[in-house]
Every structure is written in C-alpha cells, then in structure tokens.
C-alpha cells in the first residue's frame, strides 16, 4: 500500500471539473512534482490533499488512513505557500513555533525543534524579526521551516519558489531536495516550471485539464514523453508535421520538404496525420557542403540568430518549413549568423504522435 493514495479524486466547481478522476500513489520517500500550466488543476489537487478543499468524488488516503473528510488541522500535513503566508503579527521564532504549539508540545521540546530548524535553514539571528523585516529569500526559508518543524506526514509545496529570483531559486531547489532526503517524508511539489520539477523530483505527474497526463520517473517524462502535450510542455522541442507511413521497425513521416524517420509507432495508420518532436539539444549541426543530398532526419538551413546562454548556444535556424532551434554546447564548433548548415538528428531522438483530431 502506498503512503499517499488518491483514488478517483474529482472536484467540480459549477459545471467545470477542476480535477477529473485522478488516481495516483505516492511512496514514503518520494519527491513528486505536479507539473502543469496554470489552470490545469494542480493547485486544486494539492489543496484536496491538504484538506482545504473537499473532493466532489473519490478518496484521499494518507499513511493508510482515509482522510477524505478530515479537516486540514487533523491530517498532520504541512504546506509551503507561494505567497509565504507567514503570520505578520508573529516573529520568526513564533512563526516557527506555531505548528508545535498547536501540537501542544512541551515548551522545552518546542525550543529544541525551533532551534533545529533555525540551524538547518540558516535563520539564526533572525528569530526576533517580523516577516516584513525579512528579504524574500529569508521569508521563503521561514515558510519552509514552518513546514518542516512539525515533522508532518507529508509536505505540500505550492509553487514556493515562484516569487524568488532565478539565482535564489536554484539555490533553494538544492536545499529543498536536501531536506526532503534527510527527513524521509514525501514532498508534493506543485509547479508550472519544468526546470524546478526536473531538478528536484523523483517522479513527475504532468497535469492537464484536471487529469494526469502521465505520472512517471523524471527521466521518462523528459526522454520518453507519452503524449504530444508532454513533448511540447517538458523541455524545448521542435515540431514537424506530416503523413505517417510504416515500414518494418520504422515509422516515416513525410512533410513538406522533410522526411523524418522514427522508431516504429503502432498507433499511426499509414496516411494519418502525425507530429514529430525533436528536442532542441538533440539537433546537431554541420557546415553545408555543395552537393548535399537530401536525407531523412536532416534539413538544409541558414543560421538566423545565435543566442548565447553561457554554457551553450541556441541557434535559430531558418529552413523551407519555417524556423527551428538547435542548442549546442559551446565546446562544439560554433557557427555565426548567416552560415548555411545542415541540421540533423538521430532516429531514436524523434518522438512521434498522432496529430489527427488536432485543429
């Protein structure tokens, strides 16, 4: 039995199903991200686990106990909010002691635990400050500390890093994961930022339209997207369209001015519309030479812009069918704008999906 189970959970607002028959199981030591665009229902799902929303249908189980109708204060969960939601009339110390006071722990133990959290989150010296006297990063640490101090059964994090700047965010990503590993409790992390989800999670649930599109290990989500939506949403990809044709272990997609070969896809009847996704970093470049014959999984292009990203460069390429982006490490040969190149990729790096039914 999994540590946390969602069993056919749905939530209806008016005529809209914000969460639609979600079933998932989370293990005790897992870091799970709910990744999805805004309005996908991921926050509602988190609030259902927290007990701040009651599901219209379905059950929520935490540590073997059915908590579906238990109010939040009796679930033993904790949460870190996007807007921090520290108590503005309480000092840092009092904010951290709050969950412990609610647990009615003896004074000595409260002091001990708050000390522990102040230590692991590098908050010593700020105990007497009020939240409005702290920087954004410090407020975030207090919010995280308040989440950890009561040793909850599960920590729920609702886009906790969205309000921090990039550098601080990356620092906190490492730190959050570190604490999760040390405490050995599940973290459920809601975000629309794929980088955050990829950097911290064991498994990622991609949420779309209130449903779980896929729930799998982060490498699977990234390397082997199960749906076109995931291919588009996770990582940065180039999309090609055409008609499918199968032959042996290869499915071939013929589009305008391009032939793409991909591993066999059983769900694509010959002649059906299909879309191929190739991640930016999977596209390689070589200088064009006169007499290049057209080949599968390759196209002739001209470099339009070069965007420097530090360790790697992004090449915006113009070709007969529009624009694609290739990102290459700086250690490779560099090209300058205006150069004619051949962009090519491996058959195994192509993700193919049916495009029938798409507008």
């Amino acid at each position: 039995m999994a540590y946390i189970t969602l069993d056919g959970v749905s939530k209806q607002y008016g005529s809209v199903w914000a969460v639609d028959r979600v079933t998932m199981a989370i293990e005790k030591h897992e870091f799970v991200s709910l990744l999805g665009p805004s309005g996908s229902g991921k926050t509602t799902l988190l609030r259902i686990i927290a007990g701040l929303e009651t599901p219209t249908q379905g059950r929520v189980l935490i540590d073997g106990e059915d908590v579906t109708h238990l109010p939040p204060h009796r679930r033993g969960v904790a949460m870190v909010f996007q807007e921090f939601l520290l108590f503005p009339h309480r000092t840092v110390y009092e904010n951290l002691a709050f969950p412990l006071r609610m647990l009615k722990l003896p004074k000595g133990e409260i002091e001990e635990r708050v000390e522990w959290v102040l230590g692991i989150l590098a908050l010593r010296g700020l105990e007497k400050r009020y939240p409005n006297q702290l920087s954004g990063g410090q407020q975030q640490r207090v919010a995280l500390g308040r989440g950890l101090v009561g040793r909850p059964k599960v920590l729920l994090l609702d886009e906790p890093l969205a309000n921090l700047d990039r550098e601080l965010r990356q620092e906190m990503e490492v730190e959050i994961r570190k604490h999760q590993t040390a405490l050995g409790i599940p973290f459920i992390y809601v975000t629309h930022n794929q980088e955050e989800a990829l950097s911290m999670s064991d498994r990622i649930a991609v949420v779309r339209g209130g449903r779980i599109e896929d729930f799998a290990a982060r490498t699977d989500i990234y390397d082997r997207p199960k749906t076109a939506f995931i291919a588009q949403f996770v990582g940065r990809s180039n999309r090609f369209e055409g008609l499918a044709a199968a032959a042996g272990d290869t499915t071939t997609l013929r589009g305008e001015g391009i032939v793409i070969e991909a591993p066999h896809h059983p769900g694509l009847p010959a002649g059906s519309r299909a879309a191929a996704y190739v991640k930016n970093e999977k596209i390689r470049l070589k200088p064009a030479t006169p007499g290049d014959a057209p080949a599968a999984n390759a196209l002739a292009a001209t470099i339009r812009h070069v965007i420097l990203r530090g360790a790697y460069a992004e090449y915006v390429l113009g070709w007969a069918g529009g624009e694609i982006v290739a990102s290459r490490p700086r250690s490779e040969a560099e090209f300058s704008a205006g150069t004619d190149v051949v962009a090519f990729w491996d058959k195994s790096d192509v993700d193919l999906f049916s495009a029938t039914g798409e507008p």
Binding site: A50, G51, L52, P71, P72, H73, V77, A78, M79, F81, E83, L85, F87, P88, H89, F98, P99, M102, L103, Y130, N132, Q133, R146, G150
Partner: protein, 286 residues
C-alpha cells in the same frame, strides 16, 4: 524646491484646517471654562469655580459615570453585533458586498433627529411594539419606555452601521488565506480565529469601538428623546448648559472634562495594544 512644495501643501492645508476649526475652538473652550457666566453674560475673570461645581455636585459625576457605562455597553454590543455581520458580508456577500455595506448606511440618508424620533415611535408607550403587545392583551414592555435601555437601543441603532463598516474594511484588508495557513499547521477553526483572525483585525475593531464609544459619551439626542427622567447623560447635560440654562462657562468646563476623559481612554488603549502584534506594518523595515 518643487519636490518640497507638494508635501508642504498636502500636509499644510489639512493642518491649517484642523488648527483653525478644531484646535482654536478647543482652546477657546478651555479659556471659557475658567471664566464664569452670570445671567447670560460672560465674565472674563479667572476662576476654577466651574470645575469645583463639577467635582462636588453629585449629579454631574452621576451623569459622567452613567455616560461611561452607557458608552461602554453600547460599544460592546455594537462590536459584538458588527463582527458576525461584517464577517458574513465578507464570506457570503459575493459581488453584492459593497451594496450590502452601503445598505447599512441607508438610515444616514435621513437626519439623526428623525431617526431617533422614529425609534421613539417604535419603542414608546403608544409605539408600534407596545401597541401590538397591548392590542394582544399583554402588558406593555416598561423596560423600553423612556429608560436607559431605550437610550441604549437608540445608540446601538445609530452607531452600528459605522462599526460594521469599519470592521468590514478591516476584514476586507485581511488576507483570508492566513486562516488556511493556520489550519494547515494544526489550528481548529476556533483556534485559527483566536490566533490569526482576531489579532490581525484587533486594530480595526478598536477603531470601530472608538468611533462608537466617543460619540456615545457626548450623545444628546438619544437620551433626550428616549432616556426618560433617569436617562440624563453627560452630553445631554452639557448641551443644556449652552441652551436653556445659559451657563456656557460650566458647559465649557464639562466639555474639557469630556475631552480629557476621551484622551485618557485613547492613551490607555494605545498603551495596552502593541501595534506590531496586530500585524501593523507601518513601521517599515528595520
């Protein structure tokens, strides 16, 4: 230079306005209170006779104590009623919130005298309430006929809209999600109210309380029309000095005492309440 002009204007004009129309009259009251009046003439002669009268004649002390009790009771009732009303508007008002709050101000569209007289018609011996009771063969409710209870009902009716509005505004400013945070961290709904909602709205509640308490202290109309023979309140007695009895200097001294009592109460409350603990963040960082 230009940058200095704007704040000077913004702060200077209201200051000048306040000095001219508030501080100066107050000072003139202070001066008048140490003069005396004799058969409708002011005699400019320093003496503390007025204060001596106020301290020694029992009636004035009775009026003052009665007024303090009345103002306390009325303000407590108003606050106790206003909280659930304002909270309900916030929770269930939806897009009619503003309309509902404004609805409370409808009685203000008529004059205060009119409202009190209407209430007199409702509570009096031949009023609607007792009229119905007597028509049904029951005894009339004496407790609401020209008594301090009637005065209190009138004052609650007069000032409830103000208290509701102030507490409503306080709750509107209050981030309801902090209640969610408290619940997540183990507080029951009642505990969340005590730990978060109440302290973070205490400042607004005190302002609402004060905006009821202070006018109640100097109320004149409600006791006059509803209070009956034993219902004289301090403010009413004070108004009489400036009217029928023509003892303006004594009235001025009563005004000074009232002002001093009000200031004293505000100071006590300010000393008791730590603004920080009400989430007041006007101190800035540091």
């Amino acid at each position: 230079m230009k940058a200095r002009l704007a704040p000077a204007l913004f702060l200077g004009l209201p200051t000048a306005f306040l000095v001219a129309l508030f501080v100066l009259p107050l000072l003139s009251m202070l001066v008048l209170s140490v003069w005396r009046t004799e058969s409708y003439h002011i005699i400019r002669e320093f003496n503390l006779g007025n204060y001596h009268v106020l301290a020694t004649e029992g009636a004035y002390m009775t009026f003052l104590v009665r007024s303090l009790v009345m103002a306390s009771v009325v303000s407590l009732i108003c606050t106790a009623l206003a909280w659930p009303i304002a909270y309900a508007i916030i929770l269930y008002g939806g897009r009619y919130r503003l309309l509902l709050t404004l609805g409370f101000a409808v009685p203000f569209l008529t004059g205060e005298v009119l409202r009190i007289i209407a209430l007199q018609g409702l509570l009096g011996p031949i009023g609607l309430l007792n009229g119905v009771l007597m028509a049904l063969g029951a005894a009339p409710l004496r407790v609401i006929m020209y008594t301090n209870v009637a005065s209190a009902i009138g004052l609650v009716y007069l000032y409830l809209p103000i208290v509701v509005t102030v507490i409503y505004l306080s709750l509107l400013n209050f981030d309801q999600r902090l209640i969610d945070a408290a619940k997540i961290f183990g507080a029951s709904p009642a505990r969340a109210f005590i730990e978060v909602t109440w302290p973070l709205n205490l400042f607004g509640t005190l302002i609402g309380f004060a905006l009821c308490f202070i006018p109640c202290l100097s109320a004149t109309l409600a006791p006059r029309f509803l209070g009956g023979p034993n219902g004289t309140l301090y403010g009413m007695a004070m108004a009489q000095q400036f009217g029928e009895s023509g003892t303006w200097a004594l009235g001025a001294a009563m005004g000074v005492v009232l002002f001093a009592v009000s200031v004293l109460l505000v100071v006590i409350v300010a000393r008791l309440v730590d603004l920080r603990r009400t989430g007041f963040t006007g101190f800035g960082r540091g």
